[in-house]
Structures are given as C-alpha cells and as structure tokens.
C-alpha cells in the first residue's frame, strides 16, 4: 500500500492536512461526530479528547464528558458507541450488522453543522465480511450532501486489522482512501487528528 501521509510522524503535515480540510468547509460546519462500532475505541477517543481538553457528548460518557440525552441524536461534538445496549436490542452488534451505523451516518450527513466524521472499522473473524463496503455508500452520500450545500465533509477513519484478516487491511483501507477518507494508522491517531481539526475550527470561529 502506498504510504498515506499520516504514516509519517510529522505533526506539521497532519496540521496542514487538517487546515486543507477546513479550507473547503462552510462556516457553519463546526462539529465532530464519531460513530464507533464498539465501546472500546469510543472510550479511547474520549480519553484523547479529554487529554486535549475538549469536551464531547456521548451515550457512554467518560468522567468529565457529557451524556447524550438521546443516543439517537448527536449534539455538538459527539462520540457515539453504536455497540451500546440501546443499539443492540434484538439485533446483531454493529461490527456484524452495519444497518444502524449506516443510518446514523446518513443522518449526520444531513446535519449542516457537521465538519468531521470519525469512523472505526474492526476486521477479523467476528466482524462483517466487508465492514468498509457496508458503509461506503453512506459515506459517499454524506459527502455528496455536503458538496451540494457548498461544503466539504472530512472523514477521518482507522482500520484495526491485518492483511491476514479475511477482509484484508489494505483492501479495506484502500476503499476508504478511494472514497476520499483520511485513513490513519490507528484509531488513536484518527481521534488526535479530530482534536486538531476541532481546535482549528474553534480558532477559525474566534478569528471571525
């Protein structure tokens, strides 16, 4: 796989990439929305946001974060665990069945205040056969909605897996990159990038 920009441990390059994303956004785009296939990486992302002194809403808030009054409705910056109890009643976990995450992604795509979508994909024997493919249509749809509004939706993603997994790490990451997503070598770094975007969005607002 050709080396993505973000494999280079170069903070300046990452900041510049964030800036390039912001340049294409409309002023009302200001929120980060993380839709996680499970709790662990959602908690990790919250811990990273907390470290960056950024507060988010979540349906599984870590200490110091805010609880979403309605897990089905994001508010401001939100990191949502789509594998939480309320989403798996009578249906398989989102690592297997992407239906609810796909619908939520479509919902976020309709929200003109969303600047960044943060997504995780987990490969392996207990995951769907094509986790990225299950969301690709919704990702492209959300990007298109933003384009029609004259904006740009940044999609920051990570794929947890190996080329030994049946879904293939390279194949999954490539499909995301082909769709214009920024693919990071870890979920932690994808969350860190979103913190940087969030900071730049706040600075842009203040500068106005």
């Amino acid at each position: 796989m050709e080396e993505p920009l973000f494999l280079r441990a170069d903070p300046a390059a990452v900041r510049e990439a964030a800036r390039a994303q912001l340049d294409r956004m409309r002023p009302e785009q200001r929120h980060v929305r993380g839709l996680f296939a499970g709790g662990t990486l959602c908690y990790q992302a919250q811990a990273i946001f907390a470290h960056a002194r950024l507060t988010v809403h979540s349906n599984g808030p870590l200490h110091g974060m805010r609880e979403l009054p309605d897990a089905n409705q994001s508010r401001d910056d939100s990191l949502v665990d789509m594998g939480a109890e309320e989403f798996v009643q009578g249906r398989p976990h989102p690592m297997i069945d992407a239906t609810l995450r796909r619908r939520r992604l479509e919902q976020e795509g309709q929200d003109p205040t969303v600047a960044v979508l943060l997504l995780d994909f987990v490969l392996g024997a207990i995951s769907a056969g094509d986790p990225v493919g299950d969301l690709l249509g919704a990702i492209r749809g959300a990007q298109e909605s933003n384009r029609r509004r004259g904006g740009h939706l940044c999609v920051a993603a990570s794929v947890c897996g190996t080329d030994g997994d049946r879904q293939g790490l390279e194949r999954q990451a490539r499909a995301l990159m082909d769709a214009g997503a920024l693919v990071f070598p870890s979920a932690a770094l994808a969350a860190g990038f979103c913190c940087e975007v969030r900071r730049q969005l706040a600075a842009r607002k203040e500068a106005r």
């Binding site: 441990a9 903070p11 990452v14 990273i48 960056a52 070598p185 932690a188 770094l189 860190g192 990038f193």
Partner: protein, 64 residues
Amino acid sequence: MAARQPGEVVPLAELLQGKPVFVNVGVREFGDSLRQAGYEVVEVDWSPPAGGDAQLAALLDDLL
C-alpha cells in the same frame, strides 16, 4: 470441583456441575464483577506484546 491433575481430560458436562473458577487474562477489572458475585478468579498478568509504535505515539502527543 475436585482437584485435577495437569493434562487430565474433563468431560464437558462436569464443567457445569460445580462452582466454576475463572481465569482472567489482562485487565484486572474484568474479574471484579465475578469476584463481587462470589466466584474465585485467577488473575494472569498479561499485556499485549506489541508495545506500540513510539513514533506514532510521539505524533499523537504532539497533536494533543
């Protein structure tokens, strides 16, 4: 459950007849609810061998 010899084959049905003893590998907190429920939990001190990527960790630190 009677003490077993290492390598002894245990019929599957017997596993459900006595009070189970749990082996918890890694994060100790995962065994807490079992301990609170009165079960014996054997802890195995383990962490993933990967150790992380120092360069990427430094990048994340820098971004935060």
